[in-house]
């Protein structure tokens, strides 16, 4: 049975005198792929920023998996399970692909300074566990051969795949993907599509902004379009 993972109620947002959203209502079901279309400047990225806590709504409520997002900052919302892939994938260029995945882990005792004094064994154990998980994810995303390569040296398509795999490592429940298919070759589009379908199968919810409507339509369960300050469901 499907369950709501994201429920947005009467969301409004303006910048100065410019109205962007007026009483937007939208519901996303868990384990679905959803695509958001709209013309340039219509506010697609801003809408994702509102869900992710990077912008605050003027009015309305955003309910995510039992949490009502209003004044929480982006880190708290990310810890609650909202993952974000930016248009320019936010990989860490000076670290290897494997390290990018390790740093994406939701919790790591090695990231707490006091654990180096009081609980050093748990750091080693967790690091070993995470390496195993990271290699499994890299295998799933066909990036295993790049594990020791610097993330900054990957192609854009590979960076996008890495960015999505980092969200998986981060245990995100809702993946907000900003143009995953843009500026990548057909092979990579296929790889990304396959990865997204696998994630849906694993119960993840995907919400993506996309201009390549044909590719998005092929894998999406629901389509949305921004029109006249509202978001309309197309199918």
């Amino acid at each position: 049975m499907e369950s709501r993972i994201l429920h947005i109620e009467n969301l409004s947002k303006s910048f100065g005198g410019l109205k962007l959203f007026d009483e937007v209502n939208i519901v996303l079901q868990q384990g679905t792929i959803n695509s958001l279309f709209g013309s340039n400047g219509s506010g697609k990225t801003t809408f994702f920023n509102l869900i992710g806590g990077y912008e605050k709504p003027d009015e309305g409520k955003i309910h995510f998996n039992g949490l009502t997002i209003r004044f929480h900052n982006e880190s708290v919302i990310a810890r609650a399970g909202v993952g974000r892939m930016w248009q320019d994938p936010s990989v860490f260029p000076n670290h290897t692909v494997l390290e990018n995945l390790l740093v994406s882990a939701k919790t790591h005792p090695g990231e707490s300074f006091l654990n180096y004094i009081f609980d050093r064994t748990s750091i080693k154990t967790k690091e070993a566990e995470l390496k195993e998980t990271a290699h499994r994810i890299l295998h799933q995303f066909k990036l295993e051969s790049k594990a020791e390569q610097l993330a900054g040296s990957l192609s854009l398509g590979e960076k996008k795949l890495l960015s999505i795999s980092m969200l998986l490592m981060n245990d995100a429940l809702l993946l907000l993907l900003d143009e995953p298919f843009s500026s990548v070759n057909p092979d990579t589009i296929e790889r990304i599509s396959e990865a997204l379908l696998e994630l849906r199968h694993a119960g993840k919810t995907i919400f993506m902004i996309e201009h390549k409507i044909k590719f998005a339509e092929a894998i999406s369960d629901h389509l949305f379009r921004i029109e006249h300050y509202k978001i309309a469901q197309l199918s």
Partner: protein
């Protein structure tokens, strides 16, 4: 030429440069408040030893606690500031700290400074002379270097480097960025307090002119020339800056001309490094 004195100064500046590297090299925050913390460490140790008759190590412990508390307050107000704004905030703090040290005559002695600082006593043995202080400084420098050697390849430093390279990316993974900055600034404040206390007991005299904005700029120059984000860069930068004046003294010219020559050499090297090695000679990270 007193090579032991030079070695002692190298030890102090290695500690200072490594501390500056922790804040600037691993989190990308360019701080110009290092000399302020250096001065607070020196004054706190001195006041505890002179006014309350405390042993050096107990006075140092209190200086560390004081520096960490001040660092907490500064970080609290600056943690959301980025790039140039953070740097400006640290300059403001540096100026405030210097002004306080210079004008609070009743406590700090103002421009006259504080003299006759008691010597370090260790197990009933009083340290005397440059050689013994060099051993003490070397021991502390070794502790600080060992700390960085241990931490260099840990998940904590990996996270710091990711925050430095892409703070928004780290935030969107749910990382607690303010916590990391608090820890970095606090650990740096601990080590800078050690350097300040060593400086005070070695010279047995301190005054505010040793803790000016110029001193902070010097420390930043050390990590700019040596490079940041690793160990070798700050260590090289610190030793280079301490030893260069001694090397120029070997040139048979008057001391006035020698001082000018030093400034010319510093400037030329800085320009060349910034132009051709923007990461510093051994650095991993380039300041934007």
């Amino acid at each position: 030429m007193n090579w032991l004195h030079i070695l002692f100064m190298c030890e102090i500046y290695v500690i200072l440069a490594l501390s500056a590297n922790l804040v600037s090299g691993y989190t990308g925050l360019l701080s110009f408040a290092n000399a302020a913390f250096y001065g607070l460490g020196a004054y706190m140790t001195t006041l505890m030893m002179k006014n309350f008759g405390l042993n050096y190590f107990l006075a140092l412990l209190l200086a560390i606690v004081f520096n960490v508390l001040v660092s907490f307050i500064i970080t609290y107000f600056s943690v959301r500031l980025k790039d140039l704004y953070f740097t400006l905030a640290t300059i403001a703090f540096q100026v405030i700290a210097f002004t306080a040290l210079y004008n609070w005559e009743k406590v700090t002695g103002g421009s006259y400074g504080i003299s006759a600082i008691p010597a370090v006593r260790l197990f009933g043995f009083q340290l005397n002379g440059t050689g013994q202080y060099t051993i003490l400084g070397g021991a502390f420098a070794l502790v600080v270097i060992s700390f960085f050697v241990f931490f260099q390849r840990t998940p904590f430093v990996r996270l710091l480097e990711c925050i430095r390279d892409r703070e928004l990316g780290a935030a969107s993974l749910g990382k607690n960025i303010p916590y990391c900055k608090f820890i970095c600034n606090s650990v740096a404040a601990v080590f800078i307090a050690i350097a300040g206390s060593l400086f005070a007991v070695y010279n047995s005299f301190i005054d505010p002119t040793s803790f000016t904005l110029s001193e902070s700029i010097l420390i930043v120059n050390m990590i700019l020339i040596g490079g940041t984000g690793n160990l070798i860069g700050p260590i090289f930068g610190a030793c280079f800056y301490v030893m260069l004046p001694e090397v120029t003294r070997l040139i048979p010219i008057s001391s006035a001309k020698g001082a000018s020559l030093q400034m010319i050499i510093y400037s030329v090297i800085l320009i060349l490094v910034v132009r051709f090695k923007p990461n510093g000679l051994f650095g991993k990270f380039k300041f934007q």
